[in-house]
């Protein structure tokens, strides 16, 4: 039973582990989740991304068993999950503030789940030791949690959850309490740890960069409904909606009138495959470049614009452009000498992606 997840992973890597079927959650009159459905495959690293109040943490708490769905069902490994009490689910959670037990030391904290499962003492000792080794916290085994730094507490919380070999690990913004540098470090640790143990991770964050860095797939939530579910590359390159395009990275939203395969947004025209009518296009800032450095683009679109602002950020800088027609665009280009006045810019028409509003 304990080795089940890894065997399942090796036999059928794309087998569905978790199915959330038309789940709704209401708190009083407020509907936090609106008939939401999602499937997660064994071994996947999925991120629930969204603003605060989008329902991502609520969904996590429904899966963990801390809340009951108002409607819908949750299944795991072919069995009904949402009717089980939290303590009977083969799911473990890494809490936002770690929730380590203050009266127990690090190894007692990690052993807590194994003791509840009546594991034999020698096995507990071995597995706790392995788990602490995995997160490099062996030397702190006897320390009380409050003596540890945020990053160390984070590692203990991970070990405490993973030592139980859950089928699914839930992580509720586990890095949000850490400072920026430690956060980057923990991101890469988390990613390699997930590959190592092969356990399915469902990760909640409001930080789109973190979601991009870690996930196999990102599920973007908005007001309790799924906006888009796709791989980070897919969701960035082909955002389905204007909201997605804005939330995942920055973008220029262009409203254009399309006629016979030509989109006209006032300042310039470009070819597209959209049907006639009005459409919204997303054009990433980095798709726009200065036209003077002999860039070779397929289907180039040139336009002139004056530079309103130039914001330097190291390797790249952000230009705020204004066309003669008053259209404001942002362009991210490789850093160079300060610019001023009017310049010619260019982008490839294929980089302007149609999005729903």
């Amino acid at each position: 039973m304990t080795a089940a997840p890894s065997i399942a992973a090796s036999l059928a890597p794309s087998a569905t582990l978790l199915e959330v079927k038309a789940v709704s959650k209401r708190f009083g009159a407020r509907e936090v989740l609106k008939t939401l459905s999602i499937e997660i495959a064994t071994g996947e690293f999925v991120t629930l991304l969204g603003e605060s109040g989008s329902g991502k943490t609520t969904l996590l708490r429904l899966i963990a068993g801390f809340e009951q769905p108002s409607a819908g069902e949750i299944w795991m490994s072919g069995a009904r999950l949402d009717t089980l009490p939290a303590y009977k689910r083969r799911v473990n959670t890494v809490f936002q503030q770690y929730a380590l037990f203050p009266h127990l030391n690090v190894s007692e904290n990690v052993a807590y789940g194994l003791r509840a499962a009546k594991t034999a003492n020698p096995e507990i000792a071995e597995r706790v030791n392995d788990a602490l080794a995995m997160v490099r916290m062996q030397e702190f085994a006897a320390a009380k949690p409050t003596r540890l730094s945020g990053g160390q507490q984070q590692r203990v919380a991970l070990a405490r959850a993973l030592v139980n070999r859950p089928e699914l690990l839930l992580l509720d913004e586990p890095l949000s309490a850490l400072d920026a540098n430690l956060r980057k470090e923990m991101q890469s640790e988390l990613k390699s740890l997930q590959r190592e143990v092969g356990i399915t991770f469902l990760f909640v964050t409001h930080d789109q960069e973190e979601a991009m860095a870690l996930s196999d797939r990102i599920a973007l939530l908005r007001n309790g409904a799924l906006e888009q579910v796709a791989s980070p590359r897919e969701i960035y390159a082909h955002p389905a909606t204007a909201y997605t395009a804005q939330f995942i990275g920055h973008t220029n939203a262009l409203r254009a009138t399309v006629r016979d395969g030509i989109a006209d947004c006032g300042a310039f025209q470009f070819s597209c495959s959209h049907a006639n009518g009005t459409a919204m296009f997303s054009l990433r800032p980095e798709a726009i470049s200065l036209a003077d450095n002999s860039v070779q683009l397929s289907d180039p679109v040139r336009f002139a614009a004056s530079i309103r602002q130039q914001i330097y950020s190291g390797a790249t800088e952000l230009l705020e452009l204004q066309t003669a027609g008053g259209l404001v665009l942002r362009a991210r280009i490789a850093s160079r000498t300060p610019l001023s006045g009017s310049h010619d810019f260019v982008f490839s028409a294929s980089d302007a992606v149609v999005v729903h509003e």
Binding site: A64, N92, A99, K144, A161
Partner: protein, 281 residues
């Protein structure tokens, strides 16, 4: 930062207060306990005769033991009542929490004496309880053992001190971060296991504080045995009172008081040590 004069002036009132109303009286009590009384006059002859009398005379030992037993019973009963009450209020009362909390606190605003007399009318031969028992034909005459017994003292003190036990336990339960309880369930612990492994240990400081309140206050209680105790319910504080009053044997009374003080100090030192072990920094 502050001048010496300022610090001195700020510290003066508490120092005067503690010296005048705490250190000096205790000192006088301590000194008296080594003096003797002959023919109604206190003689300033240093000796330990009072302490010898105390341990030789079975009356004093018997009353002292009874007092400790009553205090222990009150402590146990008020913890058994106060803990579940605090637990329910903290975890399961929902929106009724505030009103229930007030209901528990309200009796504290009623005078101790009034509550004592209330128990007299409840437990007396013509009292509410006897009338009720006879009405139900459970008993056929008034049960006189209800009033003027150690039982009545325990009952009254439990009623009075349960809110004192409830309050610190409730405060410590309220301070337990709720994610810890979710984490325990998440790690496979049932509600029962979560209670014994997480909630109870984390509320232990409050439990100890409450139990200490109940025990120390009951140990020195003098009104409950006077009102509802009768001769069989006499406690050590009543002896002290009669020694200082009618018997006019201040030195012996002082010696008993010193003994009670020692028990109390030993108990407080013990609970403080235990509590320190449960501080989680």
């Amino acid at each position: 930062m502050y001048s010496r004069t300022y610090k001195f002036l700020v510290a003066l009132p508490p120092i005067v207060w503690v010296t005048l109303f705490l250190i000096l009286p205790y000192l006088m009590m301590f000194v008296h306990s080594f003096w003797t009384v002959r023919d109604g006059v206190i003689l300033h002859h240093w000796n330990v005769g009072n302490y010898a009398t105390l341990f030789k005379n079975p009356l004093y030992v018997q009353v002292l033991l009874r007092t400790v037993r009553i205090a222990a019973a009150v402590t146990l009963l008020s913890v058994l009542l106060g803990y579940p009450l605090a637990y329910f209020l903290s975890f399961h009362a929902g929106p009724r929490k505030e009103i229930l909390y007030q209901l528990i606190i309200v009796p504290l605003w009623v005078s101790y004496l009034v509550r004592g007399y209330a128990w007299k009318t409840i437990l007396g031969s013509d009292g509410v309880l006897n009338g009720f028992l006879q009405y139900l034909h459970i008993t056929h005459g008034p049960v006189s053992a209800l009033l003027y017994s150690p039982f009545a003292v325990v009952l009254m003190l439990t009623h009075i001190y349960t809110p004192f036990v409830f309050l610190p336990i409730y405060a410590s339960l309220e301070h337990i971060p709720r994610p810890l309880i979710e984490a325990s369930h998440d790690l496979g612990a049932s509600s029962r296991r979560t209670f014994f492994r997480i909630i109870l240990p984390l509320s232990l400081p409050g439990l100890l504080a409450g139990a200490t309140f109940a025990f120390v206050l009951s140990l020195g209680d003098f009104l409950a045995p006077l009102l509802v105790g009768g001769p069989s319910g006499t406690m050590i504080a009543n002896l002290v009172q009669s020694l200082f009053g009618a018997a006019y044997d201040w030195p012996l009374g002082a010696a008993i008081s010193v003994c009670i003080l020692m028990i109390t100090i030993a108990l407080l030192a013990f609970t403080q040590r235990v509590e320190k072990r449960w501080l989680f920094e």
